[in-house]
Amino acid sequence: MSVDLEPSPGSLDLEAAPRTPDWLRRIAVYREEVLLENAAAPAVPALKATAAAVIRNPWIGTPSSRDLSPEVEAIAPVLARELTGRLIATLGGTAAIEAFGKAAIVGTRGELEHAGALIHTPFFGNLMREFLEGESIICFADTRADAGETLVVPMWHKNHAATRSHYQTITARISDGPRADEIVVVAAASTGPRPHARIGDRRTDPTVSASTIAKGTK
């Protein structure tokens, strides 16, 4: 599959892929809406969600020297499209999304490198950033585990990664995945900050160092 990374998402031709690739078993979308936190409604209400795909690990039985790029180029763009499309739909549109993150869980017959291959290359990351109209590096988590493992997925602001109010996480879990020969790939996003974000920002921080603490000036 050839993928042109320059044009807008609408012109990305992924139609050559079969509608249901045989390596794609399950897609789960999980969304949370916080109405009350510590008995008070958030000043800025937000939705956050994960979209997770369970796929067959295409590298089972291959040696640690194997070039992973052919499968990355075939699979990762499809995952980026399917997962971000579901995030956009469940969170109320691309413009509503303010923070993002990504993750992968590789089953026990795979290498952690297999998980990384599907989320850490431009064939996933650039496309996810483009589809969600962000500019930041996308923060991530990965692990190797049996089916049903939970993974806490970090998120930060899609345009200004250092925006402290948007540092947040969401927990992903697939009940029956990944099997030993599968990989779970997760895209996560949020429409706003933490429910009661109030720990300042770089602009408001005092100067803090070991010496200011020792002097008791902060």
Binding site: R25, R26, I27, A28, V29, Y30, R31, L35, L36, S175
Partner: protein
Amino acid sequence: MNVRKIVTIVDETLTEGGRPVEPAARVAVVAAVIENPWAGQGFVENLTAGIDANASDLGALLAPRVIEALGAPVEAYGKAAIVGLDGEIEHGSALIHTLKFGNHFRDAAAAKTLLPAVEKRGPAGIVFDIPLKHFTDATIRSHHQTFEVRIPDAPHPGEIVIALAAAAQGRPQQRLAALSTEQ
């Protein structure tokens, strides 16, 4: 009714047993994490006031959301009440085992059968399975299925998770003979 959080899950199975499922099998769950209406009151003999104050509102909150999340006609459905550690399972049962709660879903889905249910007590993050059965005939074997749910930080000890589940079809690759073939 104090609702802390609403969780929506939409699950699609695209292949099963190594074969495509077309169209993809869809299951949706919507759960409300609420304050246990009887928290801190000791043993409440008569639960009617709490039921009257909450059960219908919960049904009205969850039924339209789960139908919208499914995005397809409902063919099977179920419900759940997961009580935090300080409550009684009876508190969860009180909220879901009443027509005031279930009729919102039944009427909206043009369903006829009783909703199968799970009632359970546990800590935040407990895994629970919601049973689903066919919406007009609970003996239709193809639609017997369960869906596993976990909400990472609920229920707290003084909370209850109330959930509805809907499926657009029976099990993926269902191929058991009808119950009538054994009679």
